[in-house]
């Protein structure tokens, strides 16, 4: 028992010193299990590839330039859709959060369209935009915008009225109330909306690429299915997971640490 505690203690020290390795360490047993099952030959190799097969496929596709090109396409589409979603969603969320009239008018509409779901739009979008960037962007914007609008509105409504009053009494004009009170006050919720929106948007993108795509990670996986290549499908899954981890650990989490957590508005995870 003591030995286990000691080992855990040593692991904690080591993890604090090497955060990147600490993030990878939990995957060691997962990969080991995967490798073990594959090596035991329970399933045919073509259906259940082992880690070296996937690594081999990664190297080949990277060398041929397919993987980098597809990755670039997927990330580019996501970035375009998410940017439009944020640029539309944050102002709309602030409007809904600040104005009771706007809230009463827009809330039912928001809930209605949110319920339809992105993929349900695809048949119609294909008629309108065809198999192209228009369709993909629409789907991503559609998925991103609802969590951003709803969380931004919640964030605005959560700001204590006294903060607005304090700023007014110090001589702040309306636009300053917006930039110095409303926006920072709603930021933790906006980040939550963004986090959800990115997650949904990413999934919507893969689905859209599978259905309408001619490139991208989703297309890679679906194309591999046609060719019966399980190894490329597994590679695609791993790439998706890694990308999400990178977005979260390198972009979202640092922003949250520097803002809401620093200001004492949200507790540390």
């Amino acid at each position: 028992m003591n030995a286990i505690l000691e080992a855990l203690d040593r692991y904690a020290h080591w993890a604090a010193r090497w955060p990147v390795l600490a993030a990878l360490a939990p995957f060691v047993p997962v990969v080991a299990l995967w490798w073990g099952v594959a090596a035991a030959g329970v399933f045919p190799r073509a259906f259940f590839p082992a880690p070296p097969d996937v690594l081999q496929s990664f190297l080949t596709l990277t060398y041929k330039g397919i993987l980098p090109a597809y990755l670039e396409d997927s990330i580019g589409r996501l970035a375009a859709g998410v940017s439009v979603g944020i640029l539309l969603g944050i102002p709309l969320g602030i409007l809904v959060g600040l104005s009771g009239v706007a809230r009463k008018a827009l809330w039912p509409v928001l809930l209605f369209f949110q319920a339809i779901g992105d993929i349900a739009w695809l048949p119609l979008l294909l008629i309108w935009f065809g198999f192209g960037l228009g369709t993909m962007t629409f789907v991503i914007v559609y998925t991103v915008i609802f969590p951003v609008v709803i969380n931004t509105a919640l964030g605005v409504r959560s700001i204590p009225p006294e903060l607005v009053r304090a700023a007014q009494s110090l001589g702040a004009p309306r636009w300053r109330i917006l930039t110095d009170v409303i926006l920072p006050g709603a930021l933790p919720n906006i980040m939550t909306g963004l986090r959800n929106g990115l997650g949904y948007g990413w999934r919507a993108l893969i689905a859209a690429e599978i259905i309408v795509g001619t490139s991208g990670i989703g297309f890679l996986m679906f194309d591999a299915r046609r060719a019966g290549s399980a190894v490329e499908i597994v590679l695609g899954m791993i790439v998706l997971g890694l990308l999400w981890y990178i977005v979260d650990a390198w972009i979202l989490a640092p922003i949250e640490r520097a803002t809401g957590q620093r200001w004492g508005l949200v507790t540390r995870a």
Binding site: L170, P184, T259
Partner: protein, 228 residues
């Protein structure tokens, strides 16, 4: 410093959910001279905050006039500095940026407003905490920052709504003494709200007793300062 005049002030709240009217303030008149410190005291729910919020311009009066110097009040403005019970510091700004916020709104450049804000932080014994965020400060320190934030903006009138009600008794006494020291140097016109009669008598030139929305009586406090 300017005078603050309330003339035949009325306030009726209308609650659309219940459909009833509540008369919170009934014919309140009050004259606070330039540099005078007036405390309004009364039990919870007697209408103290309603008066202060109307003077601050946060709430419209149902009837009556509020005049600062010779200008009628229309909405919030920097001529009336407000100190809130729960401090109302902006959590995303450091202490020095909170204190310099009013100066920033007046278009004063960063180095100059930092210099002025630092002077006021020194006045409150807070210069060591200038770069901290409000959530890293104790309640007493936050309210010191809240007071000098209002002062740094050079208001004509200082409005304080139970400013020391949410700190512990020990800190409250220190804050009261510090407020007296600062007021003694600068002589602001002050409207101070409290439910604590002892606090009112310790601080004010005149105590106004409020009951159920109207003035019960006004008592001049002639005890020489400093009071103990």
């Amino acid at each position: 410093m300017k005078s603050l005049t309330l003339r035949n002030l009325h306030k009726t709240y209308f609650d659309p959910a219940v459909g009833t009217r509540v008369t919170a303030i009934q014919d309140v008149s009050l004259e606070i001279g330039p540099g005078e410190f007036v405390a309004v005291v009364g039990p919870a729910g007697c209408g103290k905050s309603t008066i202060l919020n109307m003077v601050a311009g946060f709430l419209p009066a149902t009837r009556g006039d509020i005049i600062v110097g010779d200008r009628p009040v229309k909405g919030p403005g920097r001529d009336r500095g407000v100190v809130f019970q729960n401090f109302a510091l902006l959590p995303w700004k450091t202490v020095i940026d909170n204190v310099g916020f009013g100066l920033k709104m007046r278009g004063i450049a960063k180095p100059e407003r930092d210099r002025i804000a630092m002077e006021f932080l020194e006045l409150a014994g807070l210069s060591h905490a200038a770069e901290r965020y409000p959530n890293e400060l104790s309640g007493g320190m936050q309210q010191r920052a809240g007071v000098v934030r209002a002062l740094a903006n050079e208001p004509d009138v200082l409005l304080m709504d139970e400013p020391f009600a949410s700190v512990d008794a020990q800190t409250r006494m220190t804050l009261q003494e510090e407020l007296m020291r600062i007021w003694g140097e600068r002589r602001h016109t002050v409207l101070f709200i409290t439910h604590d009669v002892g606090e009112a008598v310790f601080l004010a030139d005149r105590v106004v007793v409020l009951s159920k929305g109207h003035v019960l009586r006004e008592i001049p406090i002639t005890i020489p300062r400093p009071r103990g």
